[in-house]
C-alpha cells in the first residue's frame, strides 16, 4: 500500500463528496445548502489541486485540469455567495442561491471526472 496514493485518493474523493453534499437539495432553497460545506469543498478541492502538481504523466495532466476547473467553479460560487450576502441589497435571493448551487454543480461534474480518472488509474495499474 502506498501512503501517497491513499492521501491522494482520500482528498480527491473528499472533494467530490463535499461538493455533492453541498449541491444536493432544492436548487433555489438556501436552507438546504450549508455555506460551511461550500467552504470545506473549496478548501479540500484546493488541497487536491496541489496534490496533483508535478505529475508528468498524461493522466496526471488531465487530473490537474479537472481540479483546476472545479476550483474555478467553486471560487465563482463563493464569490457569488459573498456578493449576495454582503453587497447585494436584497440578500441571498432565490436567484443568487440557484446560481451558487448550479456553479457548484459544475464543479461537481469536474470532481466526478476526477474520481472516474482515479478509478481508471487504479484499474489499469498492474503490479510487476
Amino acid at each position: 500500500m502506498n501512503l501517497e496514493k491513499v492521501i491522494f485518493g482520500f482528498f480527491v474523493l473528499l472533494a467530490a463528496t463535499l461538493n455533492f453534499g453541498f449541491f444536493i437539495g432544492d436548487i433555489a432553497n438556501r436552507d438546504v445548502h450549508n455555506i460551511y460545506e461550500l467552504f470545506a469543498a473549496l478548501a479540500v478541492s484546493l488541497i487536491a489541486t496541489v496534490l496533483k502538481f508535478g505529475d508528468r504523466t498524461q493522466i496526471g495532466a488531465v487530473h490537474l485540469a479537472t481540479s483546476l476547473v472545479a476550483d474555478l467553479q467553486l471560487v465563482a460560487a463563493s464569490v457569488v455567495w459573498v456578493w449576495a450576502e454582503e453587497i447585494s441589497a436584497h440578500g441571498l435571493t432565490v436567484e443568487f442561491t440557484a446560481s451558487v448551487v448550479s456553479l457548484s454543480g459544475g464543479a461537481l461534474l469536474a470532481n466526478l471526472v476526477s474520481v472516474v480518472l482515479l478509478v481508471i488509474e487504479t484499474v489499469t495499474f498492474h503490479r510487476g
Binding site: 455555506i35 460551511y36 478548501a43 488541497i47 496541489v50
Partner: protein, 607 residues
C-alpha cells in the same frame, strides 16, 4: 473505393503529409527536460502549499464559529467572507486593522493562535521556495532550460563544440573572428565560466554537462536544422568517441571533427561515418617530416593554419643529415621516430622503461642524465626531440642536451599551457603544443573546405613554389596573416561579371585591378581556384575565369570590399576589366544602348 472523386481526395490528403527527410530523427527530449524545471518546483512546493491551505481553512472556520458582540450587545458572528478577509491581511503580516467591531476575548484568543499558526505556514512556504531556488539540481535544470531555449532560437549555422579546453578556446577565438557561431558543452563549470568571461563578439551558449550523453548533445542542437558540424575536442578519447558516434548515428552526414591521441580510438571513430580525426602527435610527425623536406612549405602551412592575424612564423632549418635523438618512446615518440626514419634520418631512442616493443638499439635510462645522453651519441647528433609527457623532464633534457652540444636542433613537446613561458625562454626550434595543433588543424578543416583542400595539395608543389607564394603574401599583406575568404563567380555573388564570364573574357589579373585606378592591382593573393571539382593552386593572373568558379583569396578587408564592388556592379566591372565607362543608371544605360554598344565618354559617367 469505387468513387473516383473520393479516391482522388484521399490521394490528395495523403500527399499532404509532411515528408520526413531524415530517416533517424534525433530523440529530442530537451523540451521535456526544459519543462521538468517547473514540475520540480511544483512537486517540492506541494507540502508547503497544502500546509498553508489547511492553516487558512482552520483559521477562517474557527473565527466564524467563535461568537462576537456587536455595539448593541447582540451576539454577532463574523461571516466566512469577513473572517477570510481578516485572516488574509493578518496572515500576510499586512495588519490592516479594519474590523466591523472590536473582538471579544474568545475571538482574541483564537486570533492569537491563528497568527502564530499562519506565520509558521508562511515561513515554511517561503523558506521552501528559497531553498528550492538555491538548490543545485534546480539551478542546473534552470541553466539547461535557458541553454536549450537559446540554442533553439539560433537562426544561423553553428558548430557544436564538445569540450572547451585550451584547443577549444583557441578555436572559439578564430571562429568568432570569422563570424562563425558556436555552441559549447564542457564538463567543467570553470571552463563554461571562462567562456562567458571571454570577450567574444557573438553570444556563445555554454552548458556544463557531459558531452558523451546524447541528450545533452541534442539539447545543444545536434538535431537543430542549423547545426553545421560537430567538433569533439574533449581531453577524453572515450568522450570524443561517444560524441562522434552520437553525431554519426543521429545526424548522418553531418561533418564531424574529432580529436584523439590514440590510433585505435581513431580507427573506432572511423567506423562511424567519415569523421575527420585529428591526432596531434601524428600531425606533428607529419609536420616535422614536411619541415625537414620543405621548410618553406612547412612555414606556409603553419602560417595559414594559425588563423587570421597570426604572425608569420620563422622558417626553421632542421638538419636533414645526421643522427637524431628521440627522448621518450611513448605514443608521441613513436610517431616522431617513424616519421624521422621515413625521412631517411638515423634515429636513436632513449627510453626509461624497458618495454618489449622498444626499437632495437634503444638506450635505456633517464634522458636528462648527461651520461645517458652521451651513450646515445648526442655529441655527434644533429637534433633532439624531448617528447615525454612531463614538462619538467622535457625542459631539463633540453638544458642538458644544449650544454653538451650547443649546435643541436631542439624539438620539444609542451604538455601544460602554463609551461609556455619556460619553453619560450628555452628557445626551442620546433615546439609541439598538442592543443594548438588540434586547434589549427580543426580550424583549417572547418573554416573553409577550400583552405583544407589547399593545405592538402600544397606540399606536392615543392619548396620553391611555397617560398614564392610566401613572398607574394608577405608583399601584399605584411607579416600578419590576412583574412582568407572565398568567392564564387555565379549570378548571386558576381552578377556584374555574368555576361563577360560566359564569353570567357575575364582573366584573374584583370579581376584583381582596383576599381578606383585599374592600373593598380588589389593586394589580394589568389590561393586556390576550384573549377568543377578540380583545384588549381595559386592560379596565375592569365587564368581565364569561367562561371561558377570558386576562388580562395587572401587579403585585407578593404581590398575585399573593392573586389566585391567589381563583382556586383556592372559599370565598375566594365571599367576594371575593359577600361570602359558605362553609365550605371538604368535610364542612361537604356539610352546609350540605343546609341550603340560603343564606349561612353568619361564626361557622361554618372559615378
Amino acid at each position: 473505393m469505387s468513387n473516383p472523386a473520393l479516391t482522388f481526395l484521399v490521394r490528395l490528403l495523403r500527399r499532404r503529409r509532411p515528408v520526413r527527410r531524415d530517416p533517424t530523427p534525433v530523440p529530442l527530449d530537451s523540451a521535456t527536460q526544459a519543462s521538468s524545471t517547473i514540475f520540480l518546483v511544483l512537486r517540492r512546493m506541494r507540502a508547503p502549499l497544502i500546509t498553508l491551505i489547511v492553516i487558512f481553512s482552520v483559521s477562517v472556520v474557527g473565527l466564524t464559529l467563535i461568537p462576537g458582540v456587536d455595539p448593541d450587545g447582540n451576539v454577532a458572528r463574523l461571516s466566512i467572507f469577513d473572517s477570510f478577509y481578516f485572516m488574509s491581511y493578518t496572515a500576510t503580516t499586512i495588519g490592516f486593522g479594519e474590523l466591523p467591531w472590536p473582538f471579544t476575548a474568545g475571538q482574541r484568543l483564537w486570533v492569537t493562535f491563528t497568527i502564530y499558526l499562519s506565520v509558521i505556514g508562511w515561513a515554511y512556504a517561503i523558506g521552501s521556495l528559497l531553498t528550492l531556488l538555491q538548490d543545485r539540481s534546480f539551478r542546473q535544470a534552470l541553466a539547461l532550460q535557458r541553454f536549450t531555449r537559446k540554442v533553439a532560437r539560433l537562426r544561423e549555422p553553428f558548430l557544436l563544440m564538445a569540450g572547451y579546453g585550451r584547443a577549444g578556446e583557441l578555436l572559439a577565438t578564430s571562429f568568432d573572428a570569422l563570424g562563425q557561431q558556436l555552441v559549447v558543452i564542457d564538463t567543467s563549470s570553470d571552463r563554461v565560466d571562462a567562456l562567458e568571461l571571454g570577450s567574444y563578439r557573438a553570444d556563445i551558449p555554454g552548458l556544463v554537462a557531459d558531452a558523451a550523453n546524447p541528450h545533452h548533445l541534442s539539447a545543444a542542437g545536434l538535431g537543430h536544422p542549423y547545426c553545421s558540424g560537430v567538433l569533439a575536442l574533449t581531453n577524453d578519447d572515450e568522450a570524443n568517441l561517444a560524441v562522434t558516434m552520437a553525431a554519426a548515428l543521429l545526424r548522418p552526414g553531418l561533418p564531424v571533427v574529432a580529436r584523439t591521441v590514440s590510433a585505435t580510438v581513431a580507427d573506432r571513430m572511423r567506423a562511424f561515418g567519415t569523421p575527420a580525426v585529428v591526432n596531434p602527435f601524428d600531425r606533428f610527425g607529419e609536420h616535422l617530416r614536411l619541415a625537414l623536406k620543405a621548410p618553406a612549405s612547412y612555414q606556409l602551412l603553419t602560417w595559414l593554419e594559425a588563423g587570421p592575424g597570426a604572425e608569420l612564423p620563422d622558417r626553421g632549418r632542421p638538419p636533414t643529415q645526421g643522427r637524431w635523438v628521440v627522448c621518450g618512446y611513448g605514443r608521441f615518440g613513436r610517431e616522431v621516430a617513424v616519421d624521422l626514419s621515413a625521412a631517411g634520418l638515423e634515429v636513436v631512442v632513449i627510453e626509461q622503461v624497458d618495454r618489449p616493443d622498444n626499437l632495437p638499439g634503444t638506450v635505456l635510462g633517464d634522458a636528462s642524465d648527461a651520461d645517458v645522453l652521451a651513450r646515445a651519441g648526442l655529441g655527434g647528433a644533429v637534433g633532439l626531440v624531448a617528447g615525454t609527457d612531463n614538462d619538467t623532464t622535457n625542459l631539463s633534457m633540453l638544458a642538458t642536451a644544449r650544454r653538451i652540444n650547443p649546435e643541436l636542433f631542439l624539438a620539444a613537446r609542451q604538455n601544460r599551457p602554463t609551461s609556455r613561458a619556460l619553453f619560450e625562454a628555452m628557445q626551442v626550434a620546433a615546439l609541439l603544443v598538442p592543443t594548438e595543433v588540434v586547434a589549427h588543424e580543426v580550424y583549417a578543416q572547418v573554416s573553409t573546405p577550400m583552405l583544407w583542400r589547399f593545405l592538402q595539395a600544397m606540399p606536392a608543389e615543392g619548396d620553391a613554389w611555397a617560398a614564392e607564394l610566401l613572398g607574394r603574401l608577405r608583399q601584399s599583406c605584411g607579416r600578419r596573416l590576412p583574412a582568407l575568404w572565398k568567392i564564387r563567380l555565379d549570378r548571386v555573388q558576381a552578377p556584374g561579371l555574368d555576361r563577360w564570364l560566359t564569353d570567357g573574357r575575364v582573366t584573374l589579373g584583370d579581376l584583381r585591378r582596383s576599381p578606383e585606378d585599374r592600373a593598380r592591382q588589389l593586394q589580394v593573393v589568389p590561393l586556390l581556384l576550384l573549377r568543377a571539382g578540380e583545384a588549381v593552386l595559386a592560379p596565375a593572373d592569365s587564368t581565364v575565369l569561367a562561371p561558377d568558379d570558386e576562388l580562395l583569396l587572401a587579403g585585407p578587408g578593404s581590398e575585399r570590399r573593392e573586389l566585391e564592388s567589381t563583382m556586383v556592379v556592372e559599370a565598375t566591372a566594365a571599367y576594371v576589366l575593359f577600361d570602359r565607362h558605362e553609365p550605371s543608371s538604368w535610364v542612361w544605360r537604356a539610352l546609350s544602348r540605343k546609341v550603340g554598344d560603343g564606349p561612353v565618354p568619361r564626361s557622361r559617367r554618372s559615378g
